[in-house]
């Protein structure tokens, strides 16, 4: 289980990295926690790796009501960050359930978002937090992409092959908003059979699922029902999700689990609200 051959470059600057990404058949190596297994299994066999680990993209900063998390911020750093806990309390809830400690020490926000694994937790969080994702390419410079426009489907995003994700920008948690991230996995750290990121505000809701549909997206019908305080309608709305189907985990089971999670998330938030 050794990777096929590849070329390797480790740029010191963003400009250098973007220039390298303009070449065909190039993969970005960030934390490597998904890419390296796929390369070891020879499921992925890029001709070139651009190792971005030396770029200054790991910063976590809060200013002007916006939390900025660099693409190279490791899961462990985001999980431990007081700024994140303050401005995006959904993220630590989710990250505590991402894989295992050693994986979180290397895995990055940008890597997870760029891969867009349907079962991954962080894309759902970005959707529920209404994040803006900032990417750059050598040819076209920076551009800002709303999370809702970023995830296109199974392992597919708005990123062009020559683009690199630089950071996520999240509006800091506003008063009156409450958050829940829940998932169901067979074992600690496994990819979820179903997961759910929920942000519930005064008369508004944002909801995204992971592990259910091939492409992660907001669930507008359920959100509308939640905004109106109608949990049963929201649960029913999830019934129309176009869930992935596999022998071990049929579509109906994923949808059922998502509905269970929504009820639990709503109860959890409600209980927290009542307690407050």
């Amino acid at each position: 289980m050794k990777p096929a051959r590849f070329d390797y470059a480790r740029p010191a600057t963003l400009a250098e990295a973007l220039a390298l990404l303009a070449k065909p058949d190039t993969a970005v190596l960030a934390g490597g926690q998904s890419l390296m297994p796929m390369m070891n299994l020879r499921v992925a066999r890029p001709a070139r790796l651009v190792d971005i680990n030396r770029l200054p993209l790991g910063e976590i900063a809060l200013g002007n009501g916006v939390l900025r998390i660099g693409a190279l911020a490791r899961h462990a750093a985001v999980l431990a960050s007081p700024l994140v806990a303050q401005a995006a309390p959904l993220l630590p809830q989710a990250l505590a359930q991402v894989a295992h400690a050693a994986i979180r020490n290397r895995g990055t926000l940008g890597g997870s978002l760029s891969l867009a694994d349907p079962a991954a937790e962080l894309p759902a969080c970005m959707l529920a937090l209404d994040a803006t994702l900032v990417a750059a390419s050598a040819a076209r410079g920076e551009r800002r992409i709303a999370a809702s426009a970023f995830f296109h489907g199974l392992y597919s995003t708005a990123l062009e092959p020559d683009e690199l994700l630089l950071r996520a920008e999240l509006p800091a948690a506003a008063p009156g908003w409450r958050y829940a991230f829940l998932e169901l996995a067979r074992r600690h750290g496994d990819f979820a059979m179903a997961g759910l990121a929920l942000a519930l505000g005064p008369g508004a809701a944002r909801l995204a699922l992971c592990g259910v549909e091939a492409g992660q997206r907001r669930q507008p019908a359920a959100e509308a029902a939640l905004a109106a305080g109608d949990l049963p309608a929201a649960i029913a709305a999830l019934g129309t999700a176009e869930a992935m189907d596999s022998p071990d985990l049929p579509a109906a089971q994923r949808v059922h689990l998502a509905q269970v999670l929504l009820r639990r998330a709503f109860q959890q938030i409600g209980a927290a609200h009542a307690a407050a």
Binding site: K2, P247, D248
Partner: protein, 779 residues
């Protein structure tokens, strides 16, 4: 005996915690070549290798070999056993010829300067494949329209047998209650953390083959390598270094390992093959694929009258060499209901060929299947009678006064302690309190279940097991001891160490038998050049068989040393003793063992004429009665089922066992706990799955779910100690009982929980989806 029975850690683990072990892949040979295999991507296909030039031309590639090349140095083999006469299992080769009969079967190999390049080259081998209809689904394999697993076969039935005794028709006619169920057991596999691996070297000048291999039984393999490669047995040296887990997985003859040895012979260069995890999951033996339909007859007083069982067992493409996969089916039927008194039994076994990797002996061979079936039926009967499941068991357990008990199958059980184990379990659980807790949790809306399993295990198989079947598997063992000039004792045992800790138990036995502290006994094992022929590690035999050899050797060495000391000290040997490394008499120490050994070794002239102390002694042990040693025990499991999600959480687990004399309770408890978790894995997580076309779906550890720390419960362990009366030490097997009973206990606990909702499950592993379907929450 001051050291036998002490909870001492295994001495050698001091190396392992420091990262100073020596596993197979930790040692390399100069000039070694790395092997990679081209394996069949199809479950069944004819093939023709049309081109190897591109692979051979890759820089760093030294050789590309196919069956045609290996045939010059390597014989094919075929599994035959008197225990399954008439069995159909086709000839097997190190590399397949013309057709591949399971996905993962090796068809060509590359030898290169690195594993990465070997893998590159394997991708370049050109093959014309002709896909053939494949049969993987066990439920369909015996259907008249099922495609044959091998071309030319008219049926996939490899072997069938009927094991019976008593009047089964009369038993069921007399029954007032008949319970029945159909249980499905999905294949699982061993997943030793250290994968299989081999480093083979052939010296053409001395015609000697040296094979380092991660394996459980060096001598068994030595014999097969000699036969298959045409090397004299004494010139084959097999070395098993630190072994990173065995569990039965590393006791078979694997084509890729034989191919690596054959390539070393052919090329005259060291060849290394270490299976990566993907090929391990694909090519290691699988185990325990059964569909069992079973009925149990019960009379009006709640007494079991008999069992009527039909077991269909999946063998895979071949019956595993050399021991035969059918052993698992026979063992499942033999263990079914073994704790109980009954008068009639009929068990039909059909062992079936499939286009899947062979199944084989895996920890607790067959027992988890037989025990789960019987314990499920027992719970059904208790429920049907509206009775406590433990009361039903208590009534039916064979009593001590009835032993030795020979059941209708002819299985002989002696010196079992069912009643004591049950009493101990009830005390351990504090059953009234626990039942109150369960009731309280249920009242709070939680779906809680408590399940039990009663176990008899057949352990420490003696010579009659494989010997009468004509299978060359040693069931005897020898320990060689030497008193070194330092006064330390070196021991060389034909028992092997695979992490289970047997060598520590043996060191404690030698220490007591001879008269030194255990840390003065340095154990060696796992090398055919330094240890006498013996069985290695299988069937929980180390303590029961190896322990006797160790005791005998210790006593022999003691007699030699005391005789020598008596000659030097000019007193009667009977007046002397060996205590804590010293020769003592009634007044205390007279001389140290080091002084004695130095005198014998370097200044022998000080001894009287004619005194020739034998400071190296050997003792061979063969048990002359009891084909197997029966052990018994009880397990209990407390689980919570989440009816909304189907997720099962094992909350607590208890195991009470009687494995005879405990040589080392710390290590026995380790065996029990590890075994229980392996059984929980089998019950809740582990499954080798295939899609409808026969493609293997569990090829990575993200797909094959192992039990991990986060989901496993703490396990309370207790012992009843009924020493085996037929040996000096009285030890029986301890390594597999945990695995034997855990799936049954979990299955019964889950069904106890589901019973509150009027639901049940009968397929292992029990998945969340199965729970949701059973509860009607999912179509």
């Amino acid at each position: 005996m001051t050291h036998i029975g002490q909870p001492l850690p295994r001495a050698a683990t001091a190396r392992l915690v420091a990262g100073r072990g020596s596993y197979l892949d930790d040692v390399s040979a100069r000039g070694e070549l790395h092997a990679a295999f081209l394996r069949s991507p199809y479950p069944h296909a004819g093939f023709r290798i049309t081109g190897t030039a591109a692979a051979s031309a890759l820089p760093g590639v030294v050789a590309v070999l196919t069956e045609a090349e290996l045939a010059a140095v390597c014989q094919p083999w075929q599994t035959k056993t008197g225990s399954a006469s008439g069995m159909v299992s086709p000839t097997q080769r190190a590399l397949a010829k013309d057709a591949a009969c399971y996905q993962g079967e090796p068809i060509a190999m590359v030898l290169a300067l690195s594993r990465a390049v070997a893998e590159d080259a394997a991708e370049l081998i050109e093959v014309e494949w002709q896909e053939l209809p494949a049969i993987t689904n066990l439920a369909l394999a015996l259907h008249v329209d099922a495609p044959p697993a091998h071309q030319g076969l008219t049926s996939n039935l490899a072997w069938s047998t009927e094991m019976k005794g008593g009047d089964i028709e009369a038993a069921f006619a007399a029954a007032t209650l008949v319970v029945e169920d159909r249980l499905v057991f999905t294949r699982s596999t061993g997943v030793t953390l250290e994968p299989r691996g081999v480093l083979a070297q052939y010296n053409p000048a001395s015609q000697a083959l040296e094979v380092r291999i991660s394996h459980q039984m060096p001598h068994q393999l030595q014999r097969h390598l000699a036969d298959l490669l045409g090397v004299s047995l004494a010139r084959v040296r097999v070395i098993c270094p630190d072994v990173g887990g065995g569990f039965g997985l590393k006791m078979h003859v694997y084509p890729d390992e034989i191919a690596a040895c054959a390539a070393a012979r052919l090329l005259g260069r060291p060849v290394r093959f270490v299976a990566d995890r993907a090929e391990a999951l694909l090519s290691d033996i699988h185990a325990r694929e059964h569909i069992v339909e079973a009925r149990m007859a019960v009379d009006a007083e709640g007494r079991i009258l008999g069992f009527d069982v039909q077991d269909v067992q999946g063998l895979g493409a071949y019956s595993i060499f050399p021991r035969s996969s059918t052993t698992e089916g026979v063992s499942a039927l033999r263990s079914l209901g073994a704790p109980y008194r009954f008068s009639a039994y009929r068990g039909r076994l059909r062992s079936v060929l499939q286009n899947k990797v062979p199944t084989g002996q895996y920890r607790s061979v067959g027992h988890p299947v037989g025990i789960a079936v019987a314990e499920r039926l027992v719970d059904l009967a208790a429920a049907a009678r509206g009775e406590d499941p433990l009361e039903f068991r208590r009534r039916n357990l064979v009593a001590q006064a009835e032993m030795p008990w020979v059941n209708p199958l002819g299985a002989r059980m002696a010196e079992l302690s069912h009643q004591q184990c049950l009493a101990k379990l009830e005390a351990l659980l504090d059953l009234p309190t626990l039942r109150n807790e369960v009731a309280t949790m249920r009242a709070a809306g939680r779906c809680i279940g408590l399940g039990f399993a009663s176990i008899v295990e057949f352990t420490a198989t003696g010579p009659e097991g494989y010997g009468r079947a004509g299978v060359l598997v040693a069931a005897v063992d020898t320990v060689v001891l030497s008193l070194e000039p330092s006064g330390e004792v070196t021991a060389r045992a034909s028992i092997s160490e695979i992490g289970q800790g047997t060598t520590q138990g043996l060191a404690q036995v030698v220490a007591d038998a001879f008269g030194v502290a255990p840390d003065q006994v340095l154990m060696g094992s796992g090398d055919t050049a330094t240890t006498p022929h013996g069985g290695g590690a299988w069937a929980s035999r180390g303590a029961a068989i190896g322990g006797e050899a160790a005791w005998g050797a210790g006593r022999k060495l003691r007699a030699e040393v005391l005789a020598a000391a008596a000659a030097l000290l000019q007193c009667a040997a009977e007046a002397l003793d060996i205590q804590d490394g010293h020769i003592t008499d009634a007044n205390g120490p007279r001389m140290s063992l080091a002084e004695l050994a130095e005198t014998v070794t370097f200044r022998g002239y000080e001894l009287p004429t004619g005194v020739q102390p034998q400071l190296t002694v050997a003792h061979h042990y063969r048990r002359e009665q009891d084909t197997a040693l029966t052990t018994n025990g009880f397990q209990a499991s407390l689980v919570e089922v989440d009816p909304d999600t189907g997720i099962i959480t094992p909350l607590r687990h208890w195991a009470v066992g009687d494995c005879g004399r405990l040589l080392n309770p710390l290590l026995v408890e380790g065996q029990v706990r590890g075994g229980v978790v392996q059984g929980i894995g089998e019950a809740l997580f582990e499954a080798c799955r295939y899609d409808e076309s026969g493609q293997f779906l569990s090829g990575t550890l993200a797909d094959y779910l192992l039990p991990m720390a986060g989901e496993m419960p703490d396990i309370t362990v207790a012992h009843v100690e009924t020493p085996y009366s037929g040996s000096v030490l009285g030890a029986k097997g301890a390594g597999e009982a945990g695995t034997a009973g855990a799936p049954a206990a979990i299955l019964n606990a889950v069904n106890d929980a589901l019973a509150q909702h009027g639901a049940s499950v009968s397929e292992l592993p029990i998945t969340p989806g199965a729970i949701l379907r059973a509860l009607g929450r999912l179509a």
